[in-house]
Symmetry: C2
Subunit: 366 residues, 2 copies
Amino acid sequence: MSRAHNFSAGPAALPEPVLRRAQQELLEWGDARASIVELSHRGPEFMQVASEAESDLRNLLSVPDDYGVLFLAGGATTHQALMALNFAAPGQCADYVLTGHWGKTAIRQAGAYVRVNISASGEDDGFRSIPPRESWRLSRDAAYVHITANETIHGVEFRPAWGEPAPDVGEAPLFADFSSSIASEPLDISRYGLVYGGAQKNLGPVGVSIVIVRRDLLERAGQPRADIFSYASHLKSDSMLNTPPTWNWYLAGLVFKWMIEEGGVREFARRSEQKAALLYSTIDGSAGFYRNDVDPAVRSRMNVPFFLADAGLDAAFLAEAREGGLIGLKGHRVLGGMRASLYNALPLEGVRALTDFMQDFGRRHG
Amino acid sequence: MSRAHNFSAGPAALPEPVLRRAQQELLEWGDARASIVELSHRGPEFMQVASEAESDLRNLLSVPDDYGVLFLAGGATTHQALMALNFAAPGQCADYVLTGHWGKTAIRQAGAYVRVNISASGEDDGFRSIPPRESWRLSRDAAYVHITANETIHGVEFRPAWGEPAPDVGEAPLFADFSSSIASEPLDISRYGLVYGGAQKNLGPVGVSIVIVRRDLLERAGQPRADIFSYASHLKSDSMLNTPPTWNWYLAGLVFKWMIEEGGVREFARRSEQKAALLYSTIDGSAGFYRNDVDPAVRSRMNVPFFLADAGLDAAFLAEAREGGLIGLKGHRVLGGMRASLYNALPLEGVRALTDFMQDFGRRHG
């Protein structure tokens, strides 16, 4: 067998050179005479890996100096609870702009700790569009305003065609879940108070998450909480308040180096536009055989949900795709149908193989 | 170079056959045509890995059916906060038996959520002994009683020579941090309400933790908390409430299979006794060149802190040890000196190599 083109939404495809390097040094890292998985997180070898990863990520994303970067266990969902605990005073409210499934998750986690104000919602529209900025009803005293930069399931993303991707929300800091679109294009971090995400899409393996936070926000008292739930404590200990997920951090670091070598986020923005354009044009040009329902102004470059007009062909589509070396295409159970995720590690040739297959399948079954 | 004997306290040595298997299939797992790191946690491949790991762990540890098993991101420290949130009512107290550094951590995490009663403490004795059961002052209304089964830094462990390793604490359920001694000998889980630990010592890689919990305890309301902090929600979703750390779970599963093939926990109990006896007898027989201060009744089989009478020789000891293929021996900064961790993946020949080196070093510098 050989490796397939993997369209999984996360855990997702990793760059093959990264996997090969990890494979080569899995038993012995450098001259440590042990695997990186076996070494103390406080030893010189892992400390080097950890600090290089942070510095590479800072370069890659142009993170300003007044922002801290955390590498923590757990995924985005955990941070959706922690951000409320850390940045909202007891009884304070927080504004949520709801644009899909993951925004709902964010609200559910925060609900135990803040008064949630849903400032805008795309739910009435089946999350096919993002409500215009003018319609948002922001609170006067919100601890923060939360958006989901890209909705992995519903396939909607804040894009320039919608308006400013980092919308002006006034005094309150803007918090954004960037799990599935981070490092796919240049990002003006200074527009955000907090950017967070699980690594398992564009940044590497599942099991480590990234938080980029404006340092002055860490002075907020937040709510009574255990030390292990405190971002300030994590930052003070360089993400080593407890034993971090070292191998996951290491693998993310290899992905950062690969992205830098490939040309950085500008290059991945170019590739992402090209990959997404090819797939959407194939869908739109299929005379209704395939369908994507998202408002073109906010179609995600990362996750493309699509449906066959005849859902009775779904099983055949998936089986033939797999046969042809295209995996991870089954849609999320929330929406059904298909979904192709086009993260950084998926090459253009993977999308070409998919669109060729889609056209061929359409001809044979249309 | 070749692989050294690794005495690191965690992350720690892994069985070489496990690393070789993981290396071999890192690019393609089975006929999935992708790495296990790249596959959806909800796909058939990882679901198989996950359920086999749970069933192997249940067999290995003889987990009774009325206990749930969770595989979660984060380490023991996170659970020290979560157990208070999940099992103590607001304002309720919990009893802690403090036998070293990690007991202190447990108390610090829980302090935000429960009234902590320190029922007994070995601190006045420098954590060299465990206070006798008769001296513990247990509360009448404690949500639970917490012990640290083995203290990784101070090297004290509840042993038969001290009394019943799972002490009778009356009505309140006994919660125990087994991070550094789980699966090193048979364990009567039914004596505990909750057994937890990070995997990075005897069970595999860092980045995944295990919770074994009596199901009826999950009916307790606990305290207001986000869903992601709820053990009941995690159990209901088979540890997939959010994306779990799949590779870490997978690697732990390979370690479980290795332990079963090697003879299970009875065999590791035999090996652990033998390894610990060899090292302690070398220390005790060194005429004071080396020293371990722990009460022999509670000396840990897993973590052996020891000191050179002349601390001026520490650097030479560590350098020569490394030269001789013995790594991870530097003591934790809390105690200084040396520490040898003798987890399941470290073979007897590793301890022989260490004790031979210690005797030789002693002869040359004594």
